[in-house]
Symmetry: C2
Subunit: 204 residues, 2 copies
């Protein structure tokens, strides 16, 4: 039982108020995404892309696309997290380092490429996977921020088409969530109450 | 900088091999879901449902629905994580405890209900939110397992219609991912190599 991590889960909040005087270096931003991408993805697809918005001009543009939410202006960085529709053709190269490192056999990688091609032929399964991978990455990003002593706040309400256009998303990239990261300012809400366990859990 | 959590992120693996002699109590299962549901959801919708599959008979049924993956039989529990299509009508009651606790003003809750109704009128936005919330919950579940000294392994390849039927999903519940949790057996892979940071991160 590792109490530090448990305490971080139990006290996590979605911050809305950030210290506008706080900034992150490129090295810190890189470290956050290095950690975020330790999240799992199906077949190790790693079908995501992160844009770290931190210049004043880009923050102003993104704030406008996010219903004017002030935290985009105040937080050190707001990450745009894209999920990518899975493309089995990219999977071979993505698994190559695992084969080269003798973590997985080459024949298994070939089998996975075939399986992924079949699984994502259905457009809904493909989009679901883009959303799922990006959400796993965003969740790990929030955890990494907390571990680095930073606050985070996810944003689900934004102009998806506008964000896709602003950050040159290709047709197979889905903007899934924005995540503001920085130093919390005073006055954030505590964690909001949750539904009773009996409403959400069944043991079979 | 809280090094324990960082170390847990950097060494996390998706376990495939579990000790079949290891079991979890109902209290431990409840604790895992208590922690998982600390994950954020849009508007605090908490639009998720978890089924903890742990009896031999239920494991056998779920294994069949998950391409025969042995970890469903071996792990102490495999959680079926459902996302629920957002229903603005449920949001008022879900926010009531936050209003009663004076965390948020009542007027804000009313505004949120209206905003959620508009945002999820689009069926694709609604499904994306179900997948996103369930993925955030599953990610927090994996983190909670690690914090409790347990291993976890997500499963994305399964018979979604079969799983929905087996666990009596309503029409607005989407089975998003399965997560096996238990004690790791020897022989799991190390964390697989990730794409270079320059491929997945842009600073704007």
């Amino acid at each position: 039982m590792t109490t530090q991590t448990l305490e971080q889960i139990e006290t996590r909040v979605s911050a809305n108020l950030f210290d506008p005087a706080h900034h992150l270096t490129e090295a810190q931003i890189g470290r956050l995404i290095d950690l975020a991408t330790r999240a799992p993805t199906a077949y190790n697809l790693q079908n995501w892309r992160f844009v770290a918005v931190r210049s004043d001009a880009e923050k102003a543009r993104l704030k406008d696309l996010a219903n004017g939410q002030q935290k985009v202006a105040d937080a050190a960085v707001t990450f745009v997290v894209f999920g990518v529709l899975p493309d089995a053709a990219t999977l071979g190269p993505r698994l190559r380092p695992s084969v080269d490192a003798e973590i997985m056999p080459g024949g298994m990688a070939t089998t996975w490429v075939t399986a992924a091609g079949a699984q994502y032929a259905d457009p809904r399964a493909s989009r679901d996977e883009a959303v799922r991978s990006a959400s796993f990455g965003a969740a790990m990003l929030m955890q990494a921020a907390r571990a680095m002593g930073l606050a985070s706040g996810p944003i689900g309400g934004f102009d998806a088409a506008g964000v896709a256009a602003a950050y040159a998303a290709s047709g197979d990239e889905v903007p899934v969530v924005l995540v503001s990261v920085g130093r919390a300012a005073p006055g954030n809400w505590p964690q909001k109450p949750r539904r009773a366990l009996g409403e959400v859990l069944e043991i079979a």
